[in-house]
């Protein structure tokens, strides 16, 4: 039977998973929000993913890292239900993804794609309000409650001043924040973010992750983000999934996975792994290719 009837509480704060506590240290005791078991997938006859498994608990952030073509985006599309795996399964809050219809998935899981293109001149507020669609009946207009949620999402991503601007007039980084705010308006329990920081400068990268840290603590939101930047992954993620050629090359805490040997094998280049003196997080520096600058 499809899970359809439940109109989520849909609102702020209380969305879902009551067993979640606001204590960030209690990660291990929380329910698994999304789980993948032995996923294999591909396009046409071309395999892209081999036997990938993962589990992300409420409030936790998993960073998916690996070189281009490692299958990171494909993995995210399968987790979101946009692509069917060849084998293996995805469980959302303990039930197979196939048990939910599209709208029921959309009330629990939000996805922000790498590119955020819009065909017509919708305003920023209209885009963010679209996040409320899975919570509304077919002919319902957004209520004041929906507007309040959109307003809060805009505010959280510092977009209030842009609310009435057409989305096309925004820069790539601003547009990314609009789509993150739209995902937030969905009031999801799980957020899937495909390269959320690709167009952002350093300040906004830090702020985006700070916002998602708040959301993870406040609402127990689980976050799965593909990231190019290993240092950001080490700094912000609870755990990392290192991929190569569609297979898992490492899965665990950044400290356990980001070893020089692992990264050298995956990226096929020399790397130096150290500690960021300011944060204590793992820091990864490229070491291959360039010749040391001569000082003599």
């Amino acid at each position: 039977m499809k899970i359809e009837a439940d109109r989520l509480d849909g609102g702020l704060g209380t969305a879902g998973t009551p067993e979640v506590t606001a204590d960030a240290s209690g990660v291990a005791t929380r329910a698994v929000a999304i789980r993948a078991i032995d996923l294999s997938a591909g396009y046409g006859n071309r395999p892209v993913l081999h036997q990938v498994s993962l589990a992300v608990r409420a409030g936790e952030m998993l960073a998916v890292v690996g070189p281009n073509g490692a299958g990171k985006s494909t993995l995210l599309r399968i987790l979101g239900g946009a692509l069917k795996p060849w084998s293996g399964s995805v469980e959302l809050e303990g039930r197979p993804l196939g048990d939910y219809d599209r709208r029921a998935i959309a009330r629990r899981l939000a996805m922000v794609a790498q590119e955020n293109l819009v065909a017509f001149r919708f305003t920023v507020l209209e885009i963010v309000l679209m996040g409320r669609a899975p919570h509304l009946g077919a002919f319902h207009f957004e209520t004041r409650h929906d507007l309040e949620i959109a307003h809060a999402a805009l505010e959280r991503f510092d977009l209030l001043g842009l609310a009435r601007r057409p989305i096309q007039e925004l820069s790539g980084g601003e547009r990314k924040r609009v789509f993150l705010a739209r995902a937030l308006a969905q009031a999801p329990h799980v957020a899937l973010l495909d390269e959320p920081t690709a167009f952002l400068d350093l300040k906004h990268v830090a702020e985006i992750f700070a916002r998602f840290r708040e959301l993870r603590i406040e609402r127990g939101m689980a976050v799965v983000a593909t990231l190019h930047d290993l240092n950001a992954a080490a700094l912000y993620a609870d755990r990392v999934l290192l991929m190569k050629g569609g297979a898992v090359a490492g899965y665990g805490t950044p400290e356990a996975v980001f070893t020089a040997d692992n990264l050298r094998a995956v990226y096929e280049t020399e790397v130096h792994v150290g500690r960021n003196p300011a944060t204590g997080a793992i820091s990864v520096l490229p070491g291959g290719g360039g010749s040391p600058r001569r000082t003599g």
Binding site: G81, R102, M111, A113, L117, A119, E126, A133, H204
Partner: protein
């Protein structure tokens, strides 16, 4: 970026909900705009019924049932205005829906060659069934079938690596138009010249001498189509973000796409079978409405229905008065407006809104 909104140049004070009523579609704004467009349609229709190549006295036409004025008003003008209104409404609503589906503001039944396919189907049905009988039914059915085939073919052929490529879509449409035009000329050259007038009528698009039966047929099919499109208006909003994005927001994309393709094909088939190919209405009207009132399809679809009706009735009024007592096909008027308009939209919005 921090939760208390930082002060920016464009946000002098903390903005509250009430400040954003103009930044999204509200029920009040929607009601106001639809009433305004409805009044416009009524005014245009009355003017179009009152004026024509022959002067009539409206009072006498209504009061005296035996007058020539009465015969002209009820026998010619009113069915023609009704036909213009319903066909224009269909064309504009279909244009808006197709644009959402293919995420391209330049998509339109005429431009994509869908109307051309419908006209070819109608002409073949006319030629074949005028001998066998049943042409009245066969013409709209064949027009619908050929429209649907054209829609699906254009949609398939415009996909490059699984993505709908906007310029490829328009090129495929151009090719389809040329192809159907040639196919129609081919039929024209091998059949009895008795059919030539009808064939030219379909090629040019005209509301010459419609019957109330034809008006009723398009009105019924059109109304069903409007209901389906309006029911999917929010899905169209979400489809503007992309297929995957719409699916992520709960839209059953394949089902919605199939439904809208069939609905729009039936609507175009019905319109073409009574009035031929009338291009650009579905481009001009939704574009003006989007620019003036916003992109939300919950407003755009009903506003295009009313606006398309008013626009087409006005275009037909020009078509039958500008060179009176002779008349132009209304399709010539819409194409004369639409050609330059297409270029204007392409130049102004090209790179900005053809996004995929």
């Amino acid at each position: 970026m921090s939760a208390p909104a930082t002060v920016r140049d464009d946000a002098p004070a903390k903005l509250v909900l009430a400040d954003f009523a103009d930044a999204h579609l509200t029920r009040a704004r929607m009601a106001f705009m639809l009433i305004a467009l409805g009044l416009l349609l009524i005014v245009v229709s009355i003017v179009a019924a009152a004026f024509g190549s022959v002067h009539i006295d409206l009072m006498r036409a209504i009061a005296d049932r035996s007058s020539a004025d009465h015969a002209i008003l009820f026998g010619a003008r009113i069915p023609r205005v009704l036909m213009g209104a319903i066909v224009g409404a269909v064309l504009a609503a279909v244009g808006a829906a197709l644009q959402a589906l293919v995420r391209n503001p330049l998509a339109e039944g005429g431009i994509l060659g869908i109307s051309g396919g419908g006209a070819f189907g109608a002409i073949v049905a006319l030629v074949v069934f005028s001998r066998l009988g049943g042409a009245d039914l066969a013409i709209p059915v064949c027009a619908f079938a050929a429209s649907l085939l054209s829609t699906l073919a254009v949609y398939r052929l415009a996909q490059v690596d699984g993505r709908l490529e906007p310029f490829t879509l328009l090129l495929v449409g151009v090719i389809f138009n040329a192809f159907w035009g040639a196919a129609i000329m081919l039929v024209n050259s091998i059949v009895n010249f008795y059919f030539t007038h009808s064939i030219i009528f379909w090629l040019m698009g005209s509301f010459e001498a419609p019957t109330y039966r034809e008006v009723a047929m398009v009105a019924v099919l059109g109304t069903i189509g409007f209901a389906i499109l309006i029911a999917h208006a929010r899905d169209m909003n979400l489809l503007s973000l992309g297929d995957d994005e719409a699916a992520d927001l709960g839209v059953e994309v394949d089902t919605v796409r199939r439904t809208i393709f069939v609905a729009t094909s039936v609507m175009i088939g019905a319109a073409v079978s009574v009035s031929g190919i009338i291009s650009f209405v579905g481009l001009i009207v939704p574009h003006i409405i989007r620019t003036a009132i916003g992109a939300d399809h919950r407003m755009l679809i009903p506003a295009s229905i009313l606006g398309g009706a008013a626009f087409t009735v006005a275009a037909d009024l020009i078509a039958r008065t500008v060179i009176a007592p002779s008349e132009l096909p209304v399709g010539a008027i819409t194409a004369l407006c639409g050609g330059p308009f297409f270029i204007y939209v392409l130049r102004r919005e090209g790179r900005k809104s053809l996004v995929l």
